[in-house]
């Protein structure tokens, strides 16, 4: 997954035909050519990010602030895991959005020993959970594509941690 908000011009986007192997051979090109990815996946990720962005920025009206926002693509059954430091006293919302190919996305919060401390209760593509730690510590946030819609092979997803 990558940080959300990375922007490229359409011209640059159309030039995104390099493969990852070229990146390792010609790192200098990284400065002038954007990251390769099929346009369909990018559109899905953009859709997921747009959904999440509205939640993040609307949250500022209620005192929330963004800690991190990432997006990417998951196949059915795949997961992404993020290590986060959460402060005692702060309240956190961890939420995600999936694109139209998503079915049920799950968010699970584990403590640093792997024990599950919270899990979203929805069966949709916009999972959300809140957590208020009693002590400052590191946690694992797992985002899991439990199901996809219909015959979709993958889905664009975005995940954010906000706090207040």
């Amino acid at each position: 997954m990558r940080p959300c908000g990375v922007m490229r011009t359409q011209t640059e986007l159309q030039e995104n035909l390099l493969t990852k192997s070229i990146f390792s051979v010609l790192p200098a090109l990284l400065l002038s050519v954007a990251v390769a990815a099929p346009s369909g996946a990018l559109a899905g990720e953009k859709e997921a990010k747009t959904c999440l962005d509205s939640k993040i920025w609307n949250g500022y009206n209620e005192g929330w602030a963004v800690r991190t926002a990432v997006d990417g693509t998951l196949k059915k059954g795949e997961h992404r895991v993020y290590l986060v430091t959460l402060y005692a006293g702060n309240e956190y919302v961890i939420q995600a959005c999936g694109d139209n190919n998503s079915g049920d996305l799950d968010l699970v919060l584990h403590d640093k020993d792997g024990k599950e401390v919270s899990r979203d209760q929805s069966d949709d593509r916009e999972p959300k959970l809140t957590y208020k730690p009693t002590r400052t510590d590191t946690f694992y946030v797992a985002l899991y594509a439990a199901t996809l819609a219909g015959e979709a092979s993958d889905a664009g997803v975005a995940m954010a941690v906000t706090y207040k």
Binding site: P3, V6, K112, A155
Partner: protein, 281 residues
Amino acid sequence: MKIRALALALVLVVGCDDKGPEKAPTNTTAEKAEPGPTAPDKTLSMAELTAAADQVALVPSPAEMQRSLSHAGVGKTLASMVQDRDISMKVENKDQLAVRAGVVLADLVLTVKESPKERTLARLTTLGVALEKLGAGSDVQAVITDLKKEIDNGAIPVDDLVKEFDELSQVMVPELEYEAGEWVVPLIQAGSWLEGAHLVSGAVVEAGKFDAADNLLRQPEVVEYFIKYVDREGADKAPDEVVAKLRETLTTLKTVASKPSLGEADVKTIHDATGAVLSLL
């Protein structure tokens, strides 16, 4: 957010991670698709969590530190403790440059509501210079340029500026990992975290609220994360006073953070150790 709207009108959001799975074209039609059959709840094992863990979100932001400080009952604002200083970016060592950028970014975010616009503009300019030298793409520079124009014209309310700086620091800057080297973002984060930890420890000392130190300052995994990047293979081996002091400070912080609980002496050690790096910038 005016700048965001403008930017979105002109550009497309694209990928910036080469670690994800290969992506097949997806159906992005507007109609709502039916979700597939419900799958049983999945629980990852500790081994799976550890193997898959991405540390991009590990480091708390300076603004988040401020929030936790308030919740701990320390009334002092970090913004009031930020030094009004010019941090030069005329350095060759890229590690040091990234740390400097992180400190400026922290000061920018913490003081956005209090600083006069000239000071904010100066910090943005300094940040832009650092990010350019670190190989940031033109997109980040364009955002900084737009922000400077908006601020200079008084066209952006301070609450919107808070959002813009949060997006810049917490969402956009991580892009650098993919353009200038994967070590840049952790070292920018190290600079921001050092500044935040220095200010928080100073506020705790001033308030005498040492019982809050564990929750405000004890973050062993964060310190380990920074050490991993400072000591990475391929790091610039040329002698550098700031990087050497940073390594020494992180070693001290690791020792302090390994304690089960922090006391007054530990908080003062954190304050002095972080200050030793910052004083060299």
